[in-house]
């Protein structure tokens, strides 16, 4: 079998894509009309057993808008635009709530959201009526809260309360349509306290630059770059500890002229938030990278912190653990049981997920499968701290789904808690969990250090004494006989050239001066340096410690690394040589080559040190490794500048011009290569079009 690189599939693929039909591969269903998936450590969607299967759908509701599950009473509240119904666990309507105000029947204008307190009081959002209605469990209205009043509320839009939650102190959190500042946090008497869950603006370099830029641009453009990052929530869920889980929607903001896309970009990766009582999102941003272009409409959370969201764009239900790691993704858009038209509310009633579809006017009940139960049980045991039992549960999950990354993480964490760091490291590595791996690694290194303290102490002592010993050795070593110069062998020559290369590092000015005027430096060693540069890149991909190594070993291709390193070097060399012929330069090609190649030495040395060190330190030390890396690059850059200065014999300005032009030249060469490529592509497309047109006409 020939290697992949040998073919040119990538090239051909790009061309053919324009002409070929995309046809779904076999898409037969076995259990459900969707293929439940998970993500592997490289971010690919991989098949998974179903965690939930659709049990049945109940249809025929009148304009349903929201669901609420009251665990204490074991009742489900269904909100339609015209009223509230109470359902039992079988999704049968037990009773309707008749709202009365002072004994008179009261008809809300158009309801969209509901919250029921543990005591049974109802808070419903009358979206069209612009009010929040508070009633007792029998529907007797106790209060009607109109639009909140405050100097902070500047928008002149109508008050359109859409969703509501109430915390244990009676504070109301109201999400209103068209409000981009955050959630209205209202006191029990309906007075405005503040905007809750607003986007916090972090002062970064980029933002400082933006502020400077704002001073220059037009009024309208400035408006678009307003300091506040707009956010509009779509739904809320509150847990017993008064943490609020909120989903973010991305409709356009007419007032500030921001498009949905602007808002999406501003809130990307934070479309689901877990807000602490201060309104700050405590979910790690990085863990939420598994959804794409989602428009979450609701979220529900179970006792273990497992969050389940529904997405109206792809009709997908996502379930993730309390840290935001994906457990199951399933569902889709379609006219089949288990698919949706527009999922708009979700609740978990025990093990059963209820998903309300606004457009199908139905509630679909999803029941947990045997596999799903296994995952949930394992997660629960971990939360309860029963790590030893947890291990066997996670092992069973992995036997049922070897692709289940969360299982490996789970084992890694359980073993970590049991202080079995060897096993923990193994599973964290399988899961691709670098933070977990790093934590276990720190612990293990600590244990190793403690166990071998004597050795470390001796080594440290020897290291401390080494300068002294070196001095002693220098003084007492047998002096070589003077005179009678030894005949130079290949070895001694190599050593001599290498020492020269190193001296160029230490003193580039003198070194490259010698290259220029004394013919010093060796082209073969230069070539060896380029080779070493290439090898360093290979080592970087292959030998860097797991914590710092994001490359996929299965995808590694020495050829592409060679193209990037040696090819890149050749490109820069060619560009520099070309530029030199334009500028008043005295450099020969050999001198240029040696200069460029020798300048790589600091980078190579530092990078090799980083690679070695990356296997010995934990993630917290990453910044030091980065520092060494940057230091190496900086040193190389300085050496290169000095080299160019010396070999070309140019003034400072011209050196700068030389470097800049070299960059431009290299870019130009690349541009021409791409131009040729795309010309070829156009030509190919042209002939292919003619060909297919002919085939079609004949």
């Amino acid at each position: 079998m020939k290697g992949k690189w040998f073919k040119v599939p990538a090239l051909a693929f790009v061309f053919m894509l324009f002409f070929c039909q995309t046809v779904p591969a076999s898409s037969r269903m076995t259990e459900a009309p969707y293929a439940t998936y998970n993500v592997d450590k490289w971010g690919n969607a991989v098949p998974s057993p179903n965690g939930y299967l659709p049990a049945r759908a109940v249809t025929g509701f009148e304009n349903p808008r929201d669901l609420f599950y009251h665990a204490g009473k074991n009742e489900i509240y269904l909100v339609g635009t015209s009223g509230v119904w109470v359902l039992n666990e079988q999704a049968e309507i037990i009773r309707a709530i008749q709202f009365t105000l002072n004994g008179e029947p009261y008809a809300p204008a158009g309801l969209t959201g509901i919250y029921v307190t543990p005591g049974g009081d109802l808070y419903v959002c009358d979206f069209d009526g612009g009010a929040v209605i508070k009633s007792d469990s029998g529907g007797r209205i106790e209060n009607i809260f109109g639009a909140p009043q405050s100097d902070l509320i500047t928008r002149e839009t109508n008050y359109r309360p859409s969703k509501i939650v109430v915390d244990s102190y009676g504070k109301m959190y109201v999400q209103a349509f068209g409000v981009f500042e955050g959630i209205y946090c209202l006191d029990a008497d309906g007075s405005f306290i503040n905007y809750y869950g607003a986007n916090h603006v972090e002062m970064t370099l980029g933002r400082l630059a933006l502020q400077a830029w704002k001073k220059i641009v037009t009024q309208e453009a400035r408006r678009k770059m307003e300091n506040f990052v707009p956010i509009e929530y779509s739904n809320l869920y509150i847990d017993e500890t008064n943490f609020i889980y909120a989903t973010v929607t991305t409709t356009a903001d007419v007032t500030s002229g921001l498009t949905a896309q602007d808002i999406y970009r501003a809130n990307n990766q934070q479309l689901l938030r877990k807000l602490n009582p201060l309104g700050v999102n405590v979910l790690p941003k990085t863990s939420m990278n598994w959804f794409q272009n989602a428009a979450f409409t609701d979220v529900t959370v179970d006792g273990d912190g497992v969050m389940t969201m529904c997405d109206a764009v792809l009709g997908v239900i996502y379930q993730c653990d309390k840290n935001g790691r994906l457990m199951f993704a399933f569902g889709g858009i379609g006219a089949q049981l288990g698919l949706f038209s527009r999922p708009s509310a979700i609740i978990s009633v025990g093990d059963v997920l209820w998903v309300l579809d606004e457009s199908k006017r139905s509630i679909t009940l999803f029941s947990l499968t045997e596999f799903g139960r296994g995952v949930h049980d394992a997660m629960r045991l971990y939360n309860e701290g029963r790590y030893q039992e947890d291990i066997s549960l996670w092992e069973r999950v992995l036997r049922d789904d070897a692709n289940y990354m969360l299982g490996y993480t789970g084992l890694g964490k359980a073993y970590y808690q049991l202080e079995n760091y060897g096993q923990s490291l193994y599973y964290f590595k399988l899961a691709g969990d670098r933070q977990g791996y790093s934590d276990a690694f720190s612990e293990q290194s600590l244990i190793f250090m403690r166990g071998n303290f004597g050795w470390f102490f001796t080594a440290a002592l020897l290291l401390a004494l080494s300068p002294l010993m070196l001095k002693l050795w220098r003084r007492f070593r047998p002096k070589p006989e003077r005179g009678g110069a030894k005949k130079e062998t290949v070895l001694t020559r190599c050593v001599r050239e290498l020492r020269f290369c190193l001296s160029c590092m230490k003193n580039p000015a003198a070194g490259f001066d010698a290259v220029k005027w004394s013919g010093k430096g060796s082209a073969p060693l230069g070539a060896a340096m380029v080779g070493l540069f290439f090898l360093t890149a290979v080592f970087n991909a292959q030998l860097t410690g797991f914590i710092f190594n994001a490359s996929n070993p299965d995808k590694f291709s020495v050829v592409s690394v060679f193209m990037v390193t040696a090819g890149g070097f050749a490109l820069v060399l060619a560009a520099n040589y070309a530029v030199s012929s334009l500028l008043p330069s005295e450099a020969t090609f050999r001198q240029l080559f040696i200069t460029l190649a020798y300048s790589l030495a600091p980078y190579i040395l530092c990078q090799l040190a980083v690679i070695a060190a990356s296997n010995l330190v934990s993630a917290e030390m990453g910044v030091f490794l980065q520092f060494i890396s940057v230091f190496g690059i900086g040193w190389s850059a300085v050496e290169l500048m000095m080299g160019i200065f010396q070999t070309h014999r140019l003034g400072f300005k011209l050196v700068v011009a030389n470097v800049a032009l070299t960059a431009v030249g290299a870019a130009a060469i690349l541009f021409f290569i791409f131009l040729l490529y795309s010309l070829f592509q156009q030509l190919y497309m042209f002939f292919y079009t003619i060909f297919s047109e002919l085939m079609f006409r004949i």
């Binding site: 076995t30 045997e370 299965d554 085939m695």
Partner: protein, 747 residues
């Protein structure tokens, strides 16, 4: 120049003269057709006249419109071409057309010069359609002349001993204008159920599903475009353009495996089997309340199928365009055979009985040990760096000796009749070239290992099936050339197939696109392979794809879909004499199989359906051995046992024996729970339990079946009943207690 103009004029004249002549030939009474306005028909008078009679059936027709009714003297039931009481119905627009027409057509019509044609619907009862009739020895031919699109469509009705046959005379359709006929729906409201009737519509979607009469669902739930035998890959990609469809690439569905539908109407009912042109038919159904008060099901025949291709505009932008086929299929008349079921015996089990009769399935199987399907995956190929260069690497996942050891172990555990399906047993078998020369992979143990496995299996009472993929060519080479051998679009460009990402319905960049084999070339490759395979005698053939994939080529030199189905059948016939295993349950192939794995286990669960029934299984049980999906890859493995008992299916397990970890990140990553060690004992236990029940009735048909909530009841051969409870709590049935997730056998 003048000469050219003259020539063109001459050709134009000749063509129009030909058309006029042809129309004259068909429409004139010289061919025996009578128009209502003509003397003869006027003499007969308006209203209904006895037209046909056979056995217990008499057909009365109104020759002016083609409306008719059939009296069945056995049941006393009258079947109407259009439902009684439709005058008072509230339906409008298209629904009104459905209720009142015998024939609905779609035609691609040029409405304005220079503008592209528009597909438009016409009904036979509209004022611009005239009907002529002819009575022949065996039937009544109605010719409908649609003056607006200028198309004449002849339909022939005849009676059989048990029902009615309606046939479109494909060859005699005349398009005397520029319009082209695309779709034909015959008798869309035949035997429709009124709002007062009780009953259901059977749709053989996957395993099968029922639509209750008057089920109070929304008109958005109507069953539309349920293609018989599923998606035709030759029609291109209907999904690329619209967002709505684009999303649906993510979703899965079952296909209509059997070319039929059934209607139960109070105590009567009919089964309609499409016996001609089935592969171009699409099922439609609606329950009362969805646009009209009536419950009806019908099929639409694609006289010309549409193909979608992506084209480049002048500005090199992609554009989706649809084209109808140039030539219709004149070799296969579209034909529906309606069978009127006996009074009081019109349940879906009775429909299955009637269909079994139509299919002419073979002898009953003996009542012995049921098969245990062992689905083994021999190897995978993964790209791994070799000396730093990525290269395809073969990783064995089930060597022949390991499989042999497993067979021995299972035999010791009491498993009999092991039918082993060996996938990826040969070189290029794993998403590779189209092999014509079968050779057991050396790294799995070579020919010697395979023969040893075969004899071990035979000692167990089982047999060895070796998988071959005859339709999908994942790599070129081995005699397969893209330009000559790959399936083409209507524009004759090669049609690529893509694997899709599970997350976002875009093509999965990890896998290269591949091709389907051109129908014209299938026989060439299959004959070569089959010759070599039968000569080598390694085992029996297990053919993938043929049982659930049917496509055609729509270009003018292509092969029509019904012809491809026949082609598949003729290939399968070649294997006659040795047992044959197939995947999936499409009717054209299933009748040739001895074993069917991955038989449809579910329906697509469309919103319009009210219940799911194992109709497919009821048809085939006792005649063909089958297994549903593998139990170990199910999310509810415990439920698979109940499912097997309910549907009469044999258990199947998909396994590997080594290098399990390597499956992660490979193209076989869907085998996420295929470790043999985890499942061996459970598999043996499940088999013993299922076999204890089903071995007694493995040759019997299913005589009754019903589902009530989480309870299912299946009666085999009228003497053994299995009651399964899928619920989490114990339930009561017929006075007995059925344990939670358990079953009870009543003999």
């Amino acid at each position: 120049m003048k000469r050219l103009l003259f020539a063109l004029l001459a050709i134009g004249f000749a063509v129009s003269a030909g058309v006029v002549l042809r129309r004259a030939v068909l429409a004139d009474d010289s061919a025996g057709y009578v128009r209502q306005s003509d003397g003869a028909a006027a003499a007969a008078g308006g209203g209904f006249h006895k037209a046909l009679e056979k056995g217990a059936l008499t057909l009365y027709a109104d020759f002016s419109t083609g409306e008719f009714y059939i009296e069945d003297s056995r049941s006393g039931r009258t079947w109407f071409s259009n439902p009684e009481g439709r005058e008072n119905d509230w339906g409008s627009g298209f629904n009104l057309q459905l209720l009142n027409s015998r024939l609905l057509i779609d035609a691609n019509v040029y409405t304005e010069p220079e503008a592209p044609p528009v597909e438009t619907r016409y009904a036979d009862f509209a004022s611009n359609c005239t009907a002529a009739y002819k009575l022949t020895d065996d039937g009544l031919i109605m010719v409908y002349d649609f003056q607006r699109p200028q198309i004449m469509v002849p339909v022939k009705y005849s009676l059989t001993d048990t029902g009615l046959t309606a046939e479109l005379l494909n060859g005699e359709v005349v398009e005397y204008g520029t319009s082209r006929l695309t779709n034909v729906s015959i008798l869309p409201s035949f035997g429709a159920g009124s709002p007062e009737d009780e009953g259901y519509i059977l749709i053989p979607d996957g395993a099968g599903a029922l639509i209750d009469f008057n089920n109070n669902k929304s008109s958005a739930d109507k069953l539309e475009e349920a293609d018989v035998y599923g998606f035709n890959a030759g029609t291109g990609d209907r999904t690329a353009a619209s967002t709505e469809q684009y999303k649906s690439k993510k979703t899965l569905s079952e296909a209509v495996n059997l070319p039929l539908w059934g209607v139960k109407l109070n105590d009567d009912g009919y089964l309609a089997v499409i016996t001609g042109g089935a592969a171009r038919a699409t099922l439609y159904a609606q329950s009362g309340g969805m646009g009209s008060g009536f419950n009806m099901a019908y099929a639409t025949y694609a006289y010309r199928d549409w193909a979608d291709i992506r084209m480049l505009t002048k500005g090199f932008e992609q554009k989706q365009e649809s084209f109808p086929e140039v030539y219709p299929d004149l070799a296969n008349n579209y034909k529906i055979e309606y069978t009127f079921l006996p009074h009081g015996k019109s349940d879906y089990t009775d429909m299955a009985e009637a269909y079994r009769h139509t299919l002419g399935l073979g002898q009953p199987l003996p009542n012995t040990d049921i098969p245990f399907y062992l689905d083994v995956y021999g190897h995978i190929v993964k790209t791994k760096p070799r000396f730093g260069i990525p290269a395809d690497t073969v990783i064995p996942t089930a060597s022949f000796s390991k499989a042999e050891a497993a067979v021995n172990e299972l035999t010791d555990l009491g498993v009999r009749n092991i039918q082993l399906k060996y996938n990826y047993w040969q070189r290029d078998g794993y998403f590779g070239k189209l092999t014509t020369d079968p050779k057991p992979l050396a790294s799995l143990g070579g020919e010697k290992g395979l023969r040893s496995l075969k004899s071990t299996l035979e000692a167990n009472g089982g047999s060895l099936f070796l998988t071959y993929e005859p339709l999908n060519a994942y790599k070129t080479g081995g005699g397969f050339w893209v330009l000559s051998d790959a399936l083409r679009t209507i524009a004759r460009t090669p049609q690529k197939q893509y694997a899709f990402s599970l997350a976002n319905s875009s093509a999965d960049s990890r896998y290269d696109p591949w091709y389907l084999v051109r129908p014209q070339r299938i026989e060439k490759f299959f004959d070569k392979y089959w010759g070599n395979f039968s000569e080598a005698g390694y085992g029996y053939p297990a053919l993938d794809s043929i049982g659930d994939t049917l496509y055609s080529e729509l270009a003018s030199d292509g092969i029509k879909r019904d012809e491809v189905a026949k082609l598949f059948a003729s290939q399968l016939e070649k294997t006659g004499g040795v047992p044959l295993m197939l995947n999936g349950g499409n009717a054209y192939a299933a009748v040739y199989a001895d074993h069917i794995v991955d038989a449809p286990a579910r329906s697509s669960g469309l919103d319009i359906y009210d219940r799911e029934v194992p109709f497919w299984q009821i048809v085939f049980h006792g005649r063909v051995n089958y297994a549903l999906n593998a139990a170990n890859l199910s999310s509810n493995p415990g439920e698979m046992k109940l499912k097997a008992l309910e549907t009469g299916a044999s258990p199947m397990f998909s396994w590997v024996f080594e290098n399990e970890d390597e499956l992660i990140g490979s193209r076989s990553d869907y085998l996420f729970s295929a470790g043999y060690a985890r499942w061996a004992e459970q598999a043996a236990r499940d088999y013993a339990e299922i076999n204890a029940v089903l071995s007694k009735v493995s040759g019997e048909t299913v005589t009754a079946h019903k589902r009530e909530g989480s309870i299912s009841v299946t009666e085999y051969g009228g003497r053994l009943t299995v009651v399964c409870n899928y619920g989490g709590e114990e339930a009561e049935y017929g006075g007995g207690i059925i344990p939670a997730k358990g079953y009870v056998v009543i003999e």
